[in-house]
Structure formats: structure tokens, C-alpha cells
Symmetry: C2
């Protein structure tokens, strides 16, 4: 049951967060524009901006040449160089770390190829913490880290970032979030999210899904995951483990074996290996490069590659059709290696959607590829890292952990 | 973006609605109990109760024998006899109408068997309006109708209650809500919802799903529909057409033809006719009675009936497993004829859930049959009818449509 009302203090905190979120996601904007978007008067906006400015979170400055005569209106800009988040992305084939400024710009980025076998928790955490140390060493004096988060290719317990199940790396119940937090030594908790959940959030906030209230993001890699936005929010389910669309069984007869122990899951039928196997090229190709090679060969007219793409596209279409019937979304986004698959197999996907989705459920749905590409999951991690700051900007800044970073890394 | 804050008037309206909702759903309660549940102090509760009492929505009275010495605390009770909703349920095989008192008691109920073929919009609306007229004639003087709503076995446009697609009755784009409103002549709009959506709401508010934030309700009849609660809210999707789990394709090879034009949909594989056909009894049995006959025969050891139930239970299990992977719900509820199917085929469903759902996604999920039985959809319609009153009790009562009913039916 919602609370009876909110105190002035709660309203002010809410408004500070809302204003900061507007310039973080929407970019620099004049006070007038912000007043209109937020439904507040200009003097309230002025007061909020002054508080955020003195906290070092935004600044006001003249815009570039507006092409208009007369005195231009000041614009409110996020302090992108000073305030940043650390974002990590643990993929099956690589480890990525980035320093992302408030406003969403990637200020610094490092990555390492991860060997397919044998990277245990401590190796992974060591590599990521090393990247972070080097990026922080090069950060300007007075800059502050507002939050830390990581995307991981597995099922994550939201409270503490425990990897409950990461089949592609062989991780079960590994305390990834806690270990990374200790190793970073910043005194900040590390939020961890499933990579496809975070990819969906990123596309919803900054990518192909801006403005949609209901969307489905399919993320393909070795496995296939999903992030589903329902009424503007990520579907997390009771334990945070929702959206496992890769384990929707689409092929109940003679389905391919899946990493989960079942057979015929969408992941087993449309993941990287399924396409490479279907093209008869498993002796020469693997991974994302293998997917690209098959899609390229199909585009050049190679018959085996085209047949393989058609077959995979048909299974993908069955899965997508099921999801559209269930969620009545405005948009379906193909991310990760499914971008390439969809580009090569769109006719099969469209044909299944036309045949299997109720006419009314597909009246308005659009199908698109990811706008953020391979960075979707990393950018989603950065948004997760910024989320506390955007909820309570001054409260987070006031916490001791947000002293300028050079006091912490020395 | 949420508004900056709420006025005192908005807070008061919210609290009046919240208090009324508490006694409507939770039954009579003392002021002390309400104060605790709502997080408000007792003097605020006293003021709210006084306003609702003078509007004739609740009354305060002594509880029955409490078994304790001393002066008992007064309890706040909904005015169940005076304030009611009209609820309708258009099923494939019957038309149901009820007068439901505030608090959820069915005060009066009428039903008619609907012939399988040939009931067009005007026939259906005529039968329902006739029921309503007779029920209102027998209502006490001074009683008021707080809202009207109907459940329909098809896809409904939320704004105006248009039946976009009702394949089992052959309806396409029929202005059901508008026509029923005109025919009732109460000056009240008629809200219409999909039967399975409303069944889910009813189970969530008053049935097997009380206390769950994430649940899946499967409703079987001639077709199979669903209502899915995500984070406490019905998943409606972009146009209100979400939750069409009956059209999830589970059998891509040689699937049975479905009313939607596709093949192998869950509805085609587990609906009434699928079970009766699988038992080889389509020449003698039809509909719900047919389903019961097969389930009863299986319970008595009839081999063909047992094999049929096993086969249907396996498809049902595949569908349920897919849904658990997608939604990570706390609860799955089997309603309509799927209650009987689940009771007869629980081992097959459990076996598929064990084999096809990720271990972590099924750690806490429970499977149950509907607590409200065949009334779930009707009770859901009543809740939909009460929803405006529970949002703004005094505003709805003040509207002219809520003059005592005898002024309207005379």
C-alpha cells in the first residue's frame, strides 16, 4: 500500500534526481526546457540546478552558437569529466571495463580476451580490478566515482551480485559482486546484473527502445538471453531471474542439447554453435567470428550458409512470435550475435511472426537491431552503476565513499 | 516522469480509496488494525472513516463476541448491501450476471446457457441487460450501483470495451462495452476485460494468489488464455492484448490446428477438444462435461483416458515450463477446465517443470488450482467494476450516475 504522502524533503530529493536524470539521459538542456519536461516552474528548476551545481554534479554554461539573435539561454550540463561510474562486462569471450562519465560518455575503456576455459572467479576479478586501478590512476584530480556495476553472462542474485549460474563459464554460486568490491577497495558496493537484462535497460534508456514502454531485447552470444521491459520496468520476477527466454522450449522433438541440461531450447536452436553447425562449418569456425563468416557467406550466395540461416531464422521466428503473443510489445530488439542472424534471416522471422502471432497482437510491433551494438551490456552496467546517484544525488555524494578518488587509490 | 508532489486533496482522496480497498478486500477491521496496515495514525483513520460513513460506503459497529473482557473496539465494515457493482461474464457456453456487494459478496446471480452457435452481439447484450433489470428491481431502496464491468472470452480494446477478436463466438470488432452500456441505460460506462486477465486479477486479490507479486493464471475453456501479474500488476502490453499464452507455439511439427489460424499452439494442444479427441471420445463428448468425463474415467483406471491426460499434461507442462523460465513467478494457477486437467495430469506437468525449467527459476515456484473456481472471471469483472470507486470513493459517489438506483429503473 503506498504511503500517505511525501515530505517536502522527499519531494526535493525526488526532483533533484529527476533533473539530474534528465540531463544524464537527454543531454544538456535549458532551464526552460527542463521546466517543461518536468512540469515544474522555472524558479524551482533554478533552485534545483543551484544545488546540483554546488554539489559539482552539473554546471550551467552558454550553449554553442544557436543561430539566433539575442541573449541565449544557459544550458544545464552534467559534469561528465568529474563524475563517473565504473562499468564492467564479463562476456564469454572477453572482459571489458570502462569509466563512463555522467551523461553516458565512455571516457576510458579497456578489454582483454578471456580464454574460453579456465578463468575462475579470482582471475576474472583480478583482471577487472587491474583495469579499474589503471583507469582511476589516469582520472583527473577531484573526480569522483559515483557507483560501480558489472554485467555478467549468467543468472545473478540481485541483492549481493552472486552468480548463481553461469553455465558458459562454469560458474555456480560464485560471490562475484562481493569479491570484485573487495578487490577494488573503493568502499563501494558492486551491483551486478544479467547481461541481457542490462542490455535491455541500455536500449530502453539510450538505444533503439527510447520511448517504448513495452519491449523485448534478445541477446545472443554462446547462449541466448533476454531482457523484457513491461510498463517501463525490467521484468525481474520473484527472485530477479526472469526473462530467461533462451530456455523457452521451441523444439520438443529431436531438439539440440542445451547447456541447461534440457533439449530444444531457443538458445540451443539459435545460439552461435547452432548456426555454425547448420552451415556444416564447425570444423573451421567458432564464436562470433564464425557467425559473421556464415552470414557473410550467405550474403555472397553460399547455399549451405543460406540454408543454415533460414533454418536458424525459422526457430528464432517461432521464439519471437511466442514472445509477441505473450507481451504485446511495441518493439523487439535483436542484440549481440542475433543482430547478425536477424539481418541475414529477417524474412524467416517476419514470416513466422505473420503466421504465428495473433493479428491484433502484431498490429503495431516493430522489429529492430540493437542501436548500441556490442556495448549495450556495458552501457547497461554503467546505468545500473549510476542508478543510486540518480535516485538521491546529494545523499550519494555526501557518503564518504565519494571523496575524490585520489584519496582512495593512493 | 512522476509529478513533483501531491496536494493535500490528492493525499486525502488516495487515503479514502486505500481505506475502502482495505475493508473491501480484507473484510471488516478495527481502526487500530487499519491504522497499522495503512501506516497512518488513528485520528487520521477516524477522519477518513467518518467521511466514508457519511457517504454511506462503510459503517462502524460492534464486532461479534470477541471472547475478551472489556469494551470491544468498533470495526469498520463495507456497506455491502447498499453499494454494489454489476458484473457480467460472457463465456463460450453460458452468460452470467451478478450483483456483487462492496466487500465482494455475490448478492444475486443469474445465468443462461448460451447456444454454441448463433448468439450475436444484440442477443448477448439483451440477455445480460434483462438479468440486470431484474436484479436491480429487487435491490433495496437507496442502494447504489458503483460500477459495471464484463469479462469476455476474447481480445478486448481497453478504452471502450470493443471485442477485437472473439474466435470462439465468431466476433470481430463488436462494440460490446458500448452496446451493453446503452442497453443498461444506467448512464454508467461498462468496462470490459479479457476473461483470463480478470480471472488473474480475482485470484491475485481474493484467491489463490493473495500476497504474490508475480503469478501466472492459466484459464482453460474451449480456448486457453492467461493473465500474468508482474510486480503486482497485470501485464497488459502496448495495446492491452498481452498474456496470450494460449498462442505460444509448443508443437511445431504436426501441431493441431488452432482457432487463430496457426498450428501447434498451447490452446490447440491442451484445450477441451484436444483432451476429448486424445481420449478417442469426440463422437460422444463435448465441452466441460466432456473434460470431466475423461478425467473421471482416467481416475477409474480407463487406459485411453489416462494416456490422453498424460499426453495433454505433457504439452501443458512444456507451456508452463516456458512461462516459469520467462516470468520467474512465485505461483502458477490453473483455472477453468485446466483445474481438472492439472488435477489429473499433475505428474506430467511436474516432470516437465523439473526437466525444462532452470533450477534457480523453479526454486520457489508453487503450482495450484484456482481458489475461486468458475467464478474467478465473474469476480474479476466485479473488481474491475469497483476499481473507480476504490480509486476515488467520494468523487464516484458524487457523480449523478450514483443516485439511488430506483430513480433510474422506474
Amino acid at each position: 500500500m503506498p504511503k500517505a504522502g511525501r515530505s517536502q524533503e522527499e519531494i526535493r530529493r525526488h526532483n533533484l534526481g529527476a533533473l539530474l536524470r534528465h540531463v544524464h539521459l537527454g543531454g544538456p538542456a535549458s532551464r526552460t526546457t527542463l521546466a517543461g519536461r518536468m512540469g515544474l516552474n522555472r524558479s524551482t528548476i533554478m533552485g534545483l540546478t543551484a544545488e546540483l551545481t554546488s554539489a559539482g554534479l552539473v554546471r550551467e554554461e552558454l550553449p554553442g552558437d544557436t543561430g539566433k539573435a539575442g541573449r541565449p539561454s544557459l544550458v544545464v550540463r552534467p559534469e561528465s569529466e568529474r563524475v563517473y561510474a565504473l562499468a564492467f562486462d564479463v562476456r564469454v569471450d572477453r572482459l571489458v571495463a570502462a569509466k563512463v562519465g555522467l551523461g553516458g560518455t565512455i571516457l576510458d575503456r579497456r578489454e582483454a580476451v578471456r580464454p574460453r576455459a579456465g578463468a575462475d572467479l579470482h582471475d576474472v576479478v583480478g583482471v577487472l580490478a587491474g583495469f579499474a586501478r589503471r583507469m582511476q590512476r589516469e582520472a583527473g584530480a577531484g573526480s569522483v566515482c559515483a557507483g560501480v556495476a558489472a554485467a555478467y553472462c549468467g543468472m545473478i542474485r540481485p541483492g549481493d551480485g552472486m552468480v548463481r549460474f553461469g553455465p558458459n563459464m562454469g560458474w555456480v554460486d560464485q560471490a562475484f559482486g562481493t569479491e570484485l568490491g573487495l578487490r577494488l577497495g573503493l568502499g563501494l558496493p558492486v551491483a551486478v546484473g544479467n547481461e541481457a537484462h542490462l542490455g535491455a535497460l541500455a536500449e530502453h534508456q539510450r538505444g533503439a527502445g527510447v520511448g517504448f514502454q513495452n519491449l523485448i531485447y534478445l541477446h545472443g552470444d554462446v547462449g541466448v538471453g533476454g531482457g523484457i521491459i513491461v510498463g517501463g520496468k525490467l521484468l525481474d520476477g520473484d527472485g530477479g531471474y526472469g526473462c530467461e527466454l533462451g530456455h523457452m522450449m521451441v523444439n520438443p522433438y529431436n531438439g539440440r542439447p542445451c547447456g541447461c541440461g534440457s533439449r530444444g531450447c531457443l538458445e540451443a536452436e539459435v545460439g552461435e554453435q547452432a548456426l555454425i553447425d547448420a552451415a556444416g562449418r564447425s570444423s573451421e569456425l567458432t564464436g562470433r567470428d564464425g557467425v559473421r563468416a556464415v552470414v557473410d557467406a550467405a550474403a555472397r550466395g553460399d547455399t549451405a550458409a543460406r540454408d543454415a540461416l533460414r533454418r536458424i531464422g525459422d526457430w528464432l521466428g517461432i521464439g519471437v512470435a511466442n514472445l509477441i503473443n505473450l507481451f504485446n510489445p511495441g518493439l523487439v530488439i535483436f542484440g549481440g550475435m542475433l543482430r547478425e542472424v536477424y539481418q541475414g534471416a529477417a524474412p524467416q522471422v517476419h514470416s513466422r511472426v505473420a503466421a504465428n502471432v495473433l493479428v491484433i497482437s502484431r498490429e503495431r510491433v516493430q522489429l529492430r537491431t540493437s542501436a548500441l551494438g556490442d556495448d549495450a551490456t556495458l552501457i547497461g552496467a554503467a546505468e545500473l552503476a549510476f542508478s543510486n546517484l540518480l535516485t538521491d544525488p546529494l545523499g550519494v555524494l555526501a557518503s564518504s565513499a565519494l571523496a575524490p578518488h585520489d584519496a582512495m587509490t593512493g
